[in-house]
Each structure stands twice: as C-alpha cells, then as structure tokens.
Amino acid sequence: MYQYFKDMAAGIEAKIQQDPDLPNPRKKYALETARLGSRLYSGKDTVAWCGIAVPFDLLNAMGITSCFVEFVGAVLAATGMAEPFLEEAEQAGFVGDTCGFHRTVIGAARKQIMPEPDFLIATTCPCSGGIAIMENLARIFNKELFVLNVPQTDEPRNVRYLADQLKDMVEFISRHTGKPLDLERLRRAIECTNKASATMKAAYRLAQQIPSPTNGRLLINFGIVWPLFMGTPAAIEIAQAYLDEFIARIKNGAPGVADEKLRLLWIQNRIQFNNPLVELLEKEYQTNIVSDELNDIYWDPIDPDDPYPGMARRAITIPFNGNIQDRIKHLRKLARAYQLDGAINPCNWGCRQGTGAKGMISEGLKEIGIPVLNLEVDCVDKRNFAEGQLRTRLEAFIEMLENQPRPQH
C-alpha cells in the first residue's frame, strides 16, 4: 500500500507539473490524499486511527499522521478492492446488516493491510457503529484507545466538556510521543485552519452561482476528507486551488456541467465504488450535483489564542451530530443557498445515523419544495448494487423534477 500511494502521489505530481499554472484543484486534493496515504504506510510516522469528529488540526500540530478509519473503507471501495475485506469481516462474524465502511475496515485490519497505529482516538459522533469499530480495532492492534464523548448540542456546558476532553487528549498523545504540545505550533495550525476555511467558504459561495462552476465530481468526499489536512498549508493550498478554479470557470463561461438544467444536493456519503450515476445525471440530463451535505463551512473561525472551545464547537456542530431538526435546518440552508431543485439521499445500508431518519429528512426538505430521492444502496459494498434499478429511479426522479415548477428560494 505504501508503494501504491507513493506511486499515486508521484503520478499526480507529474500531471500537475504538466500545467503548473492551472489551479488543478482536484489533482492537488488527490495529491494530498495520496501523500497522507503514503505517510500512514511509511512506518516512520506516529500514526493515529481516529473517529470523524477528531480535530485533525490539533493532531497535525502535534506531528501525528492521523486519519478517520472509514477512509480505508472508502479507498478500498474506490479502487474496487473492498470485496475480499468485506468477506473477511463477515467470516469473522460482522454481519451484512452493519455499515459497509466499517466491515471493510475490520477486514483490512484482520488481513493486516491497515497500518498499525500508535494509538486510536474514537469519537461518539457520528455513530454507535463507528465507536464499536474503534473498540474492535484497539483490541486487534492491542493499542491504547482514547474516547471523545461528543455532546449533542453546543450549549456552553457541552462545549466546555468537549474542550476539556481535547486537553486530556493532548496529554494522552504527549504521553505516547514524549513531546508536549508546542503552543506556538498549535497557534499557527489554527491560523491555517481559519485561512483555509475562509478561502473554502469563498469557493463554496462561487459554487452557488447559476450555472455552477462545480460539478458532481470535483468535490466528491471533500467535506469529510479535507479536514484531515486542517492546520497545514496544504489545506489552504487546496482551498485556494478550488477558489481559483471557480473564478476562472466563471470568468471563462465554463460551467461545471454544460447547459445545467437541474441542481441537486447529495446527502450524507457518496457511493464510493465506481458507478455511472453521476455521469448519467450530467451527460444525459444536464443535472448537476452542486453540493454535498458536508461541503460547507458550518463553524466559526477558531480563536488561535484559545482554540479548544472553537474546535469543540466545530465537532459538536458537524451536521451528522445532534437532533434531526438541526440537520434539516442545515440541509435547508444549503437548499436555499444553492437554489436546489432536489436532493439525493443514498440510504447507506447499515448506517443508522445517516439513514435512520430518512422519512423526517424527506419531509423536512419537501416542506420547502425540495423533493428527495431515497436510494437504497450500500455505499461501499457493490455486491448488491442494482445499477439498472437505481438508474430507473434516478431517471424517474429527474423527469419528475423537470415537470414541476422550480422551488421558490
């Protein structure tokens, strides 16, 4: 895997060098992802496997190469390699009713293709399955596990609780590395985070234009993977590349999807394995997935002099956390900002957190005139992927959208 990521990084670097003056946002984003992959597998870095809500800028400031575990499931699915790992997990007793991301991760750990971490940091958000998998990984790797209990709301008492846990986490990490947190380095990391966030916020704002400069592929998985680079210059560079790309596209009259007719929001996770749905939407129906649920800067700038409350608030307010009304509120905000026509909710089989409330999400968006297509799919396990059926449902949804008046935003 180390060689795979190293070669991937070298290949992307070479491509960027062919046109170094272009923004190349997707390539720069992929390059950082590949670099992270190679660092995880290098055997040289201090590695932490984490939950999604961990503040990666803090870990980056402490020199920890860290990643959320679902990343492994996504990479294996995207490269068409998930199946043997899913089977390995299932043979070990992890049933098919559980999350495909997590089963793949367990299979990968059992088959020893996951880098051995130095420690693990779990978060109770977003899901009960995720934290159970972290407990399993701690046992498989026989490494120490730290747990961050993420409260449901950002009232001051809750923010304080999580902020204090983050300080405990720093002590936990320092005990492993033998190095205390360098406060000046943390300060710089938070400044990077703030700059990257502001830049990306500007890029998202441009993506809201009609027609949108983005498309259904440019920002796939972005809102969940990009935070891994928070606190580093790479996060700024990637955000700047997207901003530059969108500025150039708008200036040159080159929208993300030619003749854009319909604009959709993708809720929760993308389908990670290769599939034709996005291409179908864009090419045959001029329908653009202009945003994903997590592609948003939903947090305020973090105070570099007192970063813990801000980091805690950011973790608590991740749209997957808390009550469903808050989540719907966020989805509605995106619907209005992007002037959407509809939304797709891939109800990832095995994801209680994401799909559990599908009916309430559908109702919540319908109330503001946004129809939702609930797709029954496993985002990682393609063994049951019913392409024909999904294609038919997607086409019927688009036809329905085409024949109804546009929502008044």
Binding site: T98, S128, D168, A357
Partner: protein
C-alpha cells in the same frame, strides 16, 4: 416520596435514572416494544433501524400508551437518538427530555452526566410543580434500593430451580417493576417471596446464561424453557441490568452518586472502558461461568450496532473458553423467537 402522584413518565432505556422520576412523585413507565400496533414507524425511520425503537414509535403513533406526563429518552445509541427526533415529530405536544449519555465512565464523563441529571431534575421540578430536593431524591433512592435485594432473592430461587413459573415469571416481575407504581411492585414482590418455596426443585433442564438487549415478553422466556433451557441468569436491559442498588452517602451531593452508579452498572454494549476494549466479552464469559451455566444464549435486536459489532469478540472469547454459544436475532416479536425454536432445541440437546 413527595406526594402521591400516579402520573407517569415514559422511558425506554435501562440507563434512565428512575430514582429522579420517582423523586418527582411520578411512576416511571417503561414503554416496552410489545404491542399489536400497525407498523407506521417505517414512514419516518428507515427499514434498517432497530425494531425496538420502531415498535415504541408505533405505540406512540397509535396512542397505545397510558397518559404520560412526559417522556425521558437517553442518547444511548443512534436508534435512541432517532426515536427522540421521531417522537417529537409525531407527538409535538409531549414534554420530552433527551439526556446525553457518555460512552465511558471516567470521572469527566460522570461529572458531565451529573449535569445532564441536573437538567432532568430541573425539568421534572418544573413538570411536577415543586423543586425536587436532595431529600426527595434520597427518599426515592432508599425505596428503589429495596428492589435489587428482592430480585437477587428471586434470581437465587431461579438458579436453584425453585421459582414457580421460572424465568418467564421473573420477567413478568421485572416488567411490573419497570412500570407499576413502586409500592405495588414492592408489595407484589414481597408477597411472592413469602410464598412457600417448591420442595421439588426443577433441575432437569439445562442451565443457560442469557445476554443481550431487549427481551421483555415473558412468553419468549417460556419458549426457551419449553426447549429444555433453564435461564439461570441474565444480562438484559429489560432484565437484571435495570435494577442495581445505588450506594448513597447522604452527606454528599446526590446527583454525582446517581451518575456514577448509572455509568458503572453492568453495562449495555454501548458503554465501555477504553482501557479494556471489548471487555464485554470477558464479562459475559465470567458471568456465565460464575452462574454455572452450561451454555450461553445471546439474544439481540436486529440492526443493533452496539451489539452486532461486539458479538464477534464475544463469540471468539466463548469459543476459546469452550463455552457453547447460540446467537439469536429478533425484532421484539415472539414470532421471530418462535421461528428459531428448532435452533434453540438443537442447542439445548447439544448441551445435554
């Protein structure tokens, strides 16, 4: 107790601080997933969500509930989170309080959960119209602390094969204690304990340890026994896990003590010690051995991630220890257990 008040507060999780509800003069009412209500929860909640939660929601939608003054829900898992959302959606006029519940029991988590209990206490005080004080809560704890020793005596009788009606009757008693006014429960339990014990213990069936989450229908326990099993001990959230004594020092703040007790009681799979990952497997092994069971039955609800993702470790640990294990998955209906009768019979025959 503050005053006679038969108003009920609904709850759905074994981590609910019943003593606070009772301190407000309320009868805690466990909303069990036992009902013939039509399946309507699927309109709001996905097919892959916990049947326990969906049946509770079905009861809420169908108004198959007694009058409730309010409902207390715990953030114990994804499904319970969604139940809180869906309950507010289908019964917007109900008073609901949703308590955060840390997954760990370290000092910081206990302190935080104390704050959540304080929030509940404030809400209950508002609902019942007077401030619930330390004195009220202390009195409530004193009452509730009477239950665990009584249930221990029932357990002991069950283990010796001297409880008439076996584990099905035990479950009936648990169910009553979960939902009836405290005095009624206490009186019933004491009356039954006063009954003469069977001089002819029924020890011909196979002793089995039962663990899992929700199995509240006494008929399900009767079915196990009809297959030749004798459930001599359980670790269920609708069973032994609900009633544990609270060690209480009247000279110290009461809420931190309740918090510590709830987070440290025999845990549901969702609560764990990060320093001992998947210790749940060793705990089940230890309890099964200590109970003298010849085998273990794990009964879990479909789509319950906290259990589903930890069962492989339980299976492996018991396999290494040479303790036979039967894993059953249900949807809270008797029908799903009945469908597994052949498997249960085969398992018991294998243990014989």
């Amino acid at each position: 107790m503050t005053k006679v008040n038969i108003a009920k507060i609904g709850y759905a999780c074994a981590y609910t601080p019943l003593v606070l509800l009772a301190a407000g003069g309320y009868t805690p009412y466990r909303i069990l997933p036992m009902s013939d209500c039509p399946d309507q929860a699927g309109q709001l909640l996905h097919d892959n969500l916990c049947p326990h939660v969906k049946r509770i929601l079905d009861r809420a939608i169908s108004k198959d509930l007694p009058d409730l003054e309010g409902i207390v829900l715990m953030n114990s898992c994804d499904a319970m989170r969604r139940l809180a959302d869906a309950w507010a959606h289908v019964r917007p006029d109900d008073k609901i309080i949703f308590l955060d519940l840390p997954a760990t029991a370290d000092d910081a988590a206990i302190a935080y959960f104390t704050g959540e209990l304080s929030r509940l206490n404030d809400a209950l005080s508002e609902w019942c119209g007077h401030t619930i004080t330390q004195r009220h809560i202390a009195a409530s704890i004193a009452l509730y602390n009477k239950l665990p020793p009584l249930f221990s005596r029932f357990s002991e009788r069950l283990r010796r094969g001297q409880l008439k009606g076996g584990s099905a009757r035990m479950q009936t008693l648990y169910n009553a204690a979960m939902s009836l006014p405290f005095d009624n429960s206490l009186e019933t339990l004491e009356q039954i304990l006063a009954e003469p014990q069977s001089k002819d213990p029924q020890l011909d069936s196979i002793p089995v340890f039962l663990f899992g989450n929700v199995l509240a229908d006494p008929e399900a326990l009767r079915l196990f026994e009809s297959c030749g099993a004798r459930i001599i001990e359980d670790d269920l959230c609708t069973g032994s896990r609900l009633f544990t004594s609270i060690e209480f020092d009247e000279n110290r703040d009461v809420l931190p003590q309740i918090s510590r007790n709830l987070l440290n009681r025999p845990p549901c799979a969702r609560t764990f010690d990060p320093a001992q990952p998947l210790k749940m497997a060793e705990d089940i092994l230890g309890r099964a051995r200590a109970s003298g069971a010849r085998g273990v039955i794990g009964q879990t609800i479909k789509f319950c991630d906290p259990y589903l993702d930890r069962l492989p470790a339980v299976r492996e640990t018991l396999r290494q220890a040479g303790i036979p294990l039967l894993l059953l998955e249900g949807d809270c209906s008797l029908g799903t257990i009945e469908q597994q009768r052949t498997r249960i019979e085969a398992f018991i025959e294998m243990l014989d």
